[in-house]
């Protein structure tokens, strides 16, 4: 009961923090717009009140900043939930969309259609790539015998290495000049291209896929001691595994298609939340989503402003920020390890 109250308090605090973060970060940027100007513009677009910004200033707020901040929030939430689910199902705290090859598969699919000039297929290709990688990983793991965490991870390593090499090959083979740099920054993870379509894809996936698996993910508690133990608690293990892994693949594919491959979010944040609120997924999944959203909103703001007008790929910052935090949390928790 005490744990539940603690989780509720965290949920409330993080929801407020997320609302505040979105409110504040849309006002941060080089255009020299004031907080009130920015919000008058947004309120104007929502059909209430009016703003006196120029068309360009208005465009900066409504066409660039707001969709980017919202996309960042959705991407952070999606990657964190995806990571938490994969960690539970593989019984490996270090599992994340990267480990099982999903991000690499999604990247490969996305780069392929970019090179072929079929940009409209990007979200679809990223999802297909993520699913293909997941299926390849699981089939490979199964072909090794009974599916164990170690085999799953080794299979994921093989698949992600292959997808990564194929991606590099495609880029090396066919990209030139500008597209080279665009693809590279996209591979490192960037939200620079986020528009309202990206908000629709990432936000829509959060609502359609993320929310159901956050609610249904409560059954993941049953997997704490492995598949047999989950089955003995009345869980349909294979159906649950494929549904949740499929959901995680959809989430990852959608997020990679709008942001590129951003690392460390799915790995660090769920582990950090486990240390703070415990291992029960009823609390862990929604809180991971919230903390992922807050984290990504701020990290992306840093990415676009720190070296303005140059953009830092956001994936570099997630690792620079994430790695020391993870090390600190590991150290604080050393007695339990």
């Amino acid at each position: 009961m005490n744990g539940q109250r603690k989780a509720l308090a965290w949920g409330f605090a993080l929801a407020v923090l997320l609302a505040l973060s979105v409110t504040i970060t849309v006002t941060i940027g080089p255009a020299g717009l004031g907080v009130l100007d920015v919000w008058r513009s947004i309120v104007d677009h929502l059909g209430m009140g009016s703003s006196d910004l120029t068309r360009i200033e208005d465009g900066i707020v409504w066409q660039l900043r707001l969709p980017r901040v919202l996309t960042a929030a959705a991407v952070g939430a999606g990657l964190a939930v995806s990571g938490a689910i994969m960690q539970a199902l593989t019984r490996n705290p270090l599992a994340d969309p990267y480990l099982l090859g999903l991000s690499s598969g999604a990247s490969f699919g996305a780069v392929l259609v970019l090179i072929l000039g079929m940009d409209v297929l990007l979200p679809l290709a990223a999802f297909v790539g993520a699913m293909a990688a997941l299926i390849a990983t699981m089939l490979l793991a199964r072909s090794l015998g009974i599916i164990t965490p170690t085999r799953t991870i080794l299979a994921g390593l093989a698949v992600s290495s292959l997808a990564g090499a194929l991606t590099s090959l495609v880029i090396f083979w066919s990209a030139t000049g500008d597209s080279y740099r665009e693809i590279l920054s996209w591979l490192l993870g960037s939200l620079a291209g986020a528009n309202w379509a990206a908000v629709a894809i990432s936000g829509g996936t959060i609502i359609a896929i993320g929310v159901p698996i956050i609610i249904g993910g409560r059954v993941l508690d049953a997997f704490a001691f492995g598949d047999t133990s989950a089955a003995a608690l009345g869980i349909n293990v294979s159906a649950t595994r494929w549904l949740l892994l499929g959901g995680a693949a959809l989430l990852t594919g959608a997020m990679v298609s709008v942001s590129g491959a951003i690392g460390f979010v799915g790995l660090v944040l769920p582990n950090a939340m486990r240390l703070l609120v415990g291992v029960q997924h009823r609390a862990l999944l929604p809180l991971s989503a919230l903390v992922g959203a807050v984290f990504m909103v701020w990290v992306d703001t840093a990415a676009r402003t720190l070296f303005s007008p140059r953009e830092l790929p956001v994936g570099i910052i997630t690792v620079l920020v994430g790695a020391p935090i993870f090390a600190l949390l590991l150290w604080r928790n050393r007695s339990a390890a």
């Binding site: 009961m1 539940q4 019984r91 490996n92 705290p93 965490p149 609610i215 249904g216 409560r218 059954v219 508690d221 049953a222 704490a224 001691f225 492995g226 047999t228 133990s229 089955a231 003995a232 608690l233 009345g234 869980i235 349909n236 486990r274 240390l275 415990g278 291992v279 029960q280 009823r282 928790n333 007695s335 339990a336 390890a337």
Partner: protein, 256 residues
Amino acid sequence: MSLQGARLNLRIDGHPIVTDVQFDVPERSVVALVGPNGAGKSSLLRLISGTQHGGQGDVYFEGVNLLAMHRRERARKVALVEQDAHSEFAMTVRQTVMLGRIPFQSVWAPGASQDETIVDAALETTGAAEFADRTLATLSGGEQQRVQLARALAQEPRLLLLDEPTNHLDIRAQLRTLTLLRRLADNGVTILAALHDLNLAATYCDHVVVVKDGRVRAVGPLDDVLKPDLIREVYGVTAEVMRHPRTGRPVIAFSE
């Protein structure tokens, strides 16, 4: 009423693991499942609990076929304590035991208040209450075993299956575990436990199922089954069966 296994079979990659297993033992008793390493004891327990993929056969208990039940219904009736269960995450004892309530909870209506009461009772019964708020990693092997037992009891099982519940335990902890199982059986729970130590089986169990190479070699009351000839046939060792001077139960002495 009795616990019956009928035509239980399991093949993995073409290898027979469990072959035509039949047994019939009384309910509300402590039954030992014994046999040498690799006899298929763990597989058989998973088969009976309905958690083994690809298994065939029927298990009748309290008048119903457990393997034809819905898995959730079955989980309210049958609990399984695995060997060396461990988690990669920092679970506390109470959280672990609460997992036993999962078959009774739904996604939409989690955590009834009676769950807390039942978990408290399971912690008390197994003596795990004193370290309820610690994480599993800080506990000794014997303490962890008690937690797994408490988790199974939180399922309020009618049939409790245990795989080597005394493994890695010192003698005092072994006796304590089996005394508890004995007490549960007296309260109406049917216990089927895979045991390595024949003397432990002889001291606490009513019936014995002997398996070797995936097949049943003998089933029956303790005194009828644990005889020198059978022990030689199954384990390849010479055994003398004597009587405990105080309890009158069998005591087995081995030589090569």
